[in-house]
Symmetry: C2
Subunit: 277 residues, 2 copies
Amino acid sequence: MTSSSNVRTVFIVSDSTGVTAETFSNSVLSQFEQIKFELIRIPFIDSPEKAAATAQRINLCAQAQQQRPLVFSTLVNQDSVLKIREADCIFLDLFGTFVQNLEDALGIKSSHSVGRSHMGGSSKEYSNRIEAINFTLAHDDGQFIHGLKEADVILVGVSRCGKTPTSLYLAMQYAVKAANFPLIPEDFERGSLPATLHPYRHKLFGLSIQPSRLSEVRNERRPNSEYASLKQCRYEVAEAERLMRMENIPWLSTTTKSIEEISSKVLEDVGLNRRVF
Amino acid sequence: MTSSSNVRTVFIVSDSTGVTAETFSNSVLSQFEQIKFELIRIPFIDSPEKAAATAQRINLCAQAQQQRPLVFSTLVNQDSVLKIREADCIFLDLFGTFVQNLEDALGIKSSHSVGRSHMGGSSKEYSNRIEAINFTLAHDDGQFIHGLKEADVILVGVSRCGKTPTSLYLAMQYAVKAANFPLIPEDFERGSLPATLHPYRHKLFGLSIQPSRLSEVRNERRPNSEYASLKQCRYEVAEAERLMRMENIPWLSTTTKSIEEISSKVLEDVGLNRRVF
């Protein structure tokens, strides 16, 4: 087989899940638009033997494609790093590069211990995170209004504007207790926030969305319904935005944003500074 | 103020959410156990002006602490990078370092475009992810059994062993449709899987947990109940593990694992190779 210069295999090799490494690699690789990358994540390489087997797999790939694959590694163990580094590849040592830089800058040695990026199942932080997820599930879509006083933030907006995934992401990634509450035609007719929310005005954050996008999303769920019609979506979005402006609720449009971006903006705006899990 | 050498401020500066950068930084910093790090994430630095303001903030910190803070940057824009680099700090260019390495290795130039690490709200991948989250919410705790044939994986295990957070993480991070189904005393008395699950045996993955840990978790929800007693937890866990062995269901213990690790192991075991969001 001859080299196909615009497709390149990328191995993500990690002693843990490799999720951070893959997200990071995607971000770096997206800067090379002229090349199509095929990512293969190889998690839990926690022994030199597994590293040697991975090196073999990389060599086979290099041979078959007549082209050196890229390898992004977050391995900590130096014997394992060496095995992979010796394979026929372009080796990028995500972890070692910066540990080395930091050792130099701080003038101290690192501990070279493995798999410390995520918290295990017994720490306090972990319990907080699980508690936040449970809270968010119990307070999805206004279904359970007791306990709203415990919420860190309450997302409001029309049905299907992105409240649920954003709430769950906030809980999962930041251990934030995020409730969410729908704004519905009744609220617009009355022209005020649901009474339930009045005591928690300072915790409210609004999500909105382009009516055409909302109509698409609702049509997937209830095709050709009044609920999904562009007319209804235009009405609800205009009224929800008017209400949020009137009530001085900070809000943003989710239309072109990822769940990560929306969540980060929400935290910034409500002044929650949380560590990431 | 004199330098306090065992606490060090770390700025995470990103033109997007900074979540990947923070997770990555945590992993690198965890190698320096002798130092306590205080992380400050500064997201959405998307103009040289905002970068200049951030540089000022870094300088004030350096002055107050009489010590150069660490800065992990994933900024792409070169003018912005320059502003931060000129501040009084130890600058670690997460992004530029590897983009440069790749340019050298591949012999091509990168596009230097900003904020491409997460998908926006309109792509197909994004819809798949939202669809997976909705599926997982609808199929939590065996509450909705129609549609199980669409599931990519069905997690089984005793109540409170970690099925829900794992299912949600699988949906959120990998766009995997993850249902979950409880194993309850009735199933143990009958000595077989719930009949509903028989057609989907190949999609099942079991979660288990140490009885003492399970008892702790259940006691938080229903203190001093029979349900939370160590005796009951021991019984259910032993029976669930026996059932999973008998039915040849792959399973693992969640006790000392993070949601990330459990999810990654599940994917590996059921042979789902998914990209990370």
